[in-house]
C-alpha cells in the first residue's frame, strides 16, 4: 500500500517535472517564433526560467488580504488539476497521472476553476483594471466553453466514454482512426475553442497590456507573479496534451522516450497553430470574440453532436 | 470693416488693425469687452473661441487679454484685445458664452493671477499643483532665481553660444568660411 502510494507520488513528480520544463521551453520557443515573424531575434529560449527566478527573488511584496494570497494558489491548483487528470502518454504508468473513468468532466471543470479563483484574488487587489480583465476573461471563457463542450460531447458520444484513456485507446492503429479524421467537425470546433482558451491573439483582450495593464494579474507581483507564470506554463502544457488526446490520437509507443517525442511533436504543432493564428490576426474586442465563438465554432460543434446522435 | 464700424457706435472700441485680409485686431475697453464679444458671437457669426490668452506688458504696467474669435461663414478671425492694469487684476468671465472659456480662465488665473469671478473651477489646479509663489508667467517672476533656490542646480554647468562654440571646437579650420 505504502509503496504503491510512494511510487505513484514519484511518478507524479516525474510527470510534473517533464511537463513544467517542456512547457517553459515551449513558451520560450514560441516567443522566439513570434519574434522571427516580426523580424526580430527575440528573447532567449530560457527566458521564462529567468523571469520566474527573478520574480521569486524579489525582496519585497505587498499583500491585499487572504484572497489575494489564494488567487494565485487557486490558479495554480487549476493548472495542476487540469494536468494531473490527463493521461499524458497512453499505456505508460509513469505518465498516466490520476486518470480515471470520468476524467474529461473533471478536466473541463478545472479549466474553469483557475479563472474563478483568480477572479476572487484579483478582486481583492482593489485595482480597477483587475476586475475588468477578469470580467472579459470570464465572458470570453463562457463563450468558448460552448463549442469546446459540444466537441467533447461529440467525442464522448462517438466512443461512448468520458474517460480520456478510452478515447485515446479507441484512436490507436493509425492516423485514420484519429478523431480529427473520424469526426472532423468536433475537431474543428474544439480547435477553434482552443484558440480562445490559449489567450493568444486574436483572443488576447483579457490581458491586453495597452488598455488594461496586463488584466487580472495587474496587482500581482514578486512571487505571486512567479506562481502565475509557473501555472501559465503548466496550464498551457496540460491543455495541449488534452487536445492531443482528444483529437489527435494521443501519444502511444512501447518505448517511453519515443512516446514522449511523439507527444512533444504533436503538442508543438498544436501550439504552433495557435501562434500562427496569433501572429496573423489582430486582436478581437470582447464582444467580437464572443460573437465569433457563438457563431461558426458552435455550429460546427452542433453538427458534430447531431452527426453522432443520428 | 463693417462689424467694427457698427460696434464702435455702441461700444468703446478703437485701434482697428488689419493683420491680414482674414485677420483683424481691435482694442476694447474693459467695461465693454464682454458686451462686444457677445455681439460678435450672437450678431456677427463669430461663434468659435479660438483661444483666449494674456500678454504681460511689464513696461506699460498692463496685461493685454486677447480673445481670438472665428467666423465660419466668412472664414475670418477677429482678435479683441483688452488692456487692464497689472495691479489687482479682475476681468468679467465669459464662460456663459463659451463653456470652454472656463478652462482658459482657470489656466490664466494660475499662470498670471487674473481673477475671473464666477468662472467654474477657477481655483482648481490646472498645470501647477500647490503653487505658493507669485504666478510664474508674470514677467516680474524670476524663474532662474526660483529654480536655483528650489531645485538643487548641479554645479559645473556652463552655457555657450552654440554658434561660437561649434566654430571654435567642432570645425576650427572651417570657421573663417562661415
Amino acid at each position: 500500500m505504502l509503496t504503491s502510494i510512494l511510487t505513484k507520488a514519484l511518478y507524479t513528480l516525474i510527470s510534473f517535472f517533464v511537463i513544467l520544463n517542456y512547457s517553459l521551453l515551449l513558451l520560450g520557443t514560441m516567443a522566439r517564433v513570434r519574434a522571427k515573424v516580426q523580424g526580430r531575434i527575440g528573447q532567449p529560449v530560457w527566458q521564462p526560467y529567468i523571469d520566474i527566478i527573478k520574480n521569486n527573488a524579489r525582496r519585497s511584496g505587498v499583500t491585499h488580504g487572504i484572497m489575494f494570497y489564494l488567487g494565485p494558489v487557486f490558479r495554480l491548483a487549476g493548472g495542476l488539476g487540469t494536468y494531473f487528470f490527463i493521461p499524458v502518454i497512453f499505456g505508460s504508468k509513469i505518465f498516466a497521472n490520476f486518470s480515471f473513468s470520468g476524467d474529461v468532466l473533471l478536466v473541463m471543470y478545472f479549466i474553469f476553476f483557475g479563472q474563478l479563483g483568480m477572479a476572487l484574488g484579483a478582486g481583492e487587489s482593489g485595482h480597477p483594471y483587475s476586475p475588468i480583465g477578469v470580467a472579459r476573461g470570464l465572458a470570453q471563457m463562457t463563450a468558448f466553453e460552448l463549442p469546446f463542450s459540444l466537441a467533447v460531447i461529440a467525442v464522448a458520444a462517438q466512443y461512448g466514454s468520458f474517460s480520456i484513456t478510452e478515447i485515446v485507446a479507441a484512436q490507436q492503429g493509425g492516423w485514420q482512426n484519429w478523431v480529427a479524421f473520424t469526426n472532423p467537425f468536433a475537431m474543428a470546433a474544439g480547435m477553434l475553442a482552443f484558440l480562445g482558451m490559449s489567450m493568444n491573439n486574436p483572443f488576447s483582450i483579457v490581458i491586453a497590456p495597452q488598455e488594461i495593464p496586463i488584466g487580472p494579474p495587474t496587482e500581482m507581483h514578486s512571487s505571486f507573479l512567479g506562481m502565475l507564470q509557473t501555472n501559465r506554463a503548466i496550464f498551457n502544457g496540460a491543455k495541449m496534451v488534452l487536445f492531443m488526446n482528444l483529437f489527435f490520437g494521443g501519444a502511444a509507443h512501447p518505448n517511453i522516450f519515443i512516446a514522449l517525442g511523439i507527444m512533444i511533436m504533436k503538442t508543438f504543432l498544436i501550439y504552433l497553430y495557435v501562434v500562427f493564428v496569433g501572429v496573423s490576426f489582430p486582436r478581437f474586442r470582447t464582444e467580437q470574440s464572443i460573437r465569433f465563438f457563438l457563431g461558426v465554432p458552435t455550429l460546427l460543434g452542433l453538427i458534430a453532436v447531431i452527426q453522432q446522435m443520428i | 470693416m463693417t462689424e467694427f464700424n457698427e460696434l464702435s457706435r455702441q461700444f468703446q472700441i478703437s485701434d482697428l488693425k488689419e493683420q491680414r485680409a482674414d485677420l483683424h485686431f481691435f482694442h476694447a475697453s474693459k467695461e465693454h469687452a464682454v458686451a462686444v464679444l457677445t455681439s460678435l458671437k450672437e450678431k456677427y457669426g463669430y461663434t468659435h473661441l479660438v483661444f483666449f490668452t494674456v500678454v504681460d506688458h511689464l513696461e506699460k504696467n498692463e496685461f493685454h487679454l486677447t480673445y481670438m474669435l472665428h467666423n465660419y461663414e466668412k472664414h475670418h478671425d477677429m482678435g479683441v484685445v483688452v488692456k487692464i492694469a497689472r495691479e489687482n487684476v479682475q476681468m468679467e468671465s465669459i464662460h456663459h458664452l463659451w463653456p470652454a472659456a472656463a478652462t482658459y480662465q482657470q489656466e490664466i488665473r494660475e499662470m498670471y493671477g487674473v481673477e475671473f469671478p464666477g468662472s467654474p473651477g477657477l481655483y482648481e489646479n490646472f498645470a501647477l499643483e500647490g503653487w505658493e509663489d507669485i504666478p510664474p508667467m508674470r514677467r516680474d517672476f524670476d524663474t532662474k532665481e526660483y529654480s536655483d533656490k528650489t531645485y538643487y542646480p548641479r554645479p559645473g554647468r556652463e552655457s555657450h553660444d552654440p554658434r561660437e562654440y561649434m566654430k571654435e571646437n567642432l570645425y576650427p579650420g572651417e570657421a573663417e568660411t562661415w
Binding site: Q47, R59, G61, I214, L225 | E129, G130, P136, P153, R157
Partner: protein, 218 residues
C-alpha cells in the same frame, strides 16, 4: 543653502513611535494606508546572491515613465531594429511587476509626484535609469520654474544617459551598463532609498507642496 536646511527641518515625518505621520491625508483615510517606512532588505551572501543578481540583470522589466520627450525613444526599442527582448528586457505596464524605472526626460513637479508614487510602488530590488540631460542637470529646462534639475535628489538613480534626446542605441548601452552594475552587486539602490528615506522624503516634500498621498506609497 542654509535657509533651505531650516525649511527642511520643519517638515516632520515620523511620530513618537517611529511611524509615518501621513500628514497629507485626510483623517478618515489615514487608516486605509500603511504608515511604515521602507525597510532595508539585506541581500543574500555569496554565490546564491550572484546567481540571483544574474537572473535580475537578465530579466529587466521596464516601467516607462513617458511624460518627457524620452517616451518616443522607448517605443523603437521594441521594434525589430533594436529588439530589446534579446537582452531580456520587456515592457511592463504596471509598477508592481516592473523592476526598471525609466524616466523619459524632464520631470515637472507635477510628474515628480507621480514618479515618486510609482517608484515606491515598485518592489525591490528596483533600478532607475535617467534618460536624457533633463534628468542629469535639468537640460534645456534648467532654469524653468516647474522642472526639477537633479533627479537623484528625489529618487536614487542607477544609470544616467546624457543626451537630448539619446537615441535608442544609447538607451540599450545604458541598459547593458546597468546589467553590469547589477551583476557586480551594485544594484542596491532600493536599500539606499530606505536608508536615506528621510533625506529623500524632505527633498520631495520641499517641491511637492500639496502632498495629498501617503508618505510612503506601498
Amino acid at each position: 543653502m542654509s535657509d533651505n536646511m531650516n525649511d527642511m527641518d520643519q517638515i516632520q515625518l515620523f511620530n513618537d513611535q517611529g511611524r509615518l505621520l501621513n500628514a497629507g491625508l485626510p483623517d478618515e483615510e489615514k487608516a486605509l494606508f500603511c504608515d511604515a517606512a521602507p525597510q532595508v532588505d539585506a541581500p543574500y551572501r555569496g554565490i546564491w546572491e550572484k546567481f540571483l543578481n544574474w537572473a535580475r540583470s537578465e530579466s529587466l522589466w521596464i516601467l516607462g515613465f513617458g511624460t518627457g520627450c524620452g517616451a518616443i525613444e522607448l517605443r523603437p526599442l521594441m521594434t525589430s531594429r533594436y529588439d530589446m527582448y534579446q537582452y531580456g528586457v520587456q515592457p511592463r505596464p504596471t509598477p508592481r511587476q516592473a523592476g526598471l524605472f525609466i524616466i523619459g526626460g524632464y520631470a515637472s513637479v507635477k510628474t515628480m509626484k507621480r514618479i515618486v508614487r510609482s517608484y515606491e510602488q515598485m518592489q525591490g530590488p528596483k533600478f532607475v535609469l535617467g534618460l536624457g540631460s533633463c534628468t542629469v542637470n535639468g537640460g534645456m529646462y534648467w532654469d524653468s520654474y516647474n522642472t526639477i534639475n537633479r533627479l537623484d535628489h528625489y529618487i536614487p538613480v542607477d544609470v544616467y544617459i546624457a543626451g537630448c534626446m539619446p537615441r535608442p542605441e544609447a538607451l540599450l548601452a545604458g541598459i547593458n551598463e546597468l546589467k553590469k552594475l547589477i551583476k557586480e552587486g551594485k544594484g542596491e539602490n532600493a536599500n539606499k532609498y530606505a536608508e536615506n528615506f528621510e533625506w529623500y522624503k524632505r527633498n520631495q516634500k520641499k517641491i511637492i507642496k500639496d502632498w495629498n498621498m501617503p508618505d510612503y506609497n506601498w
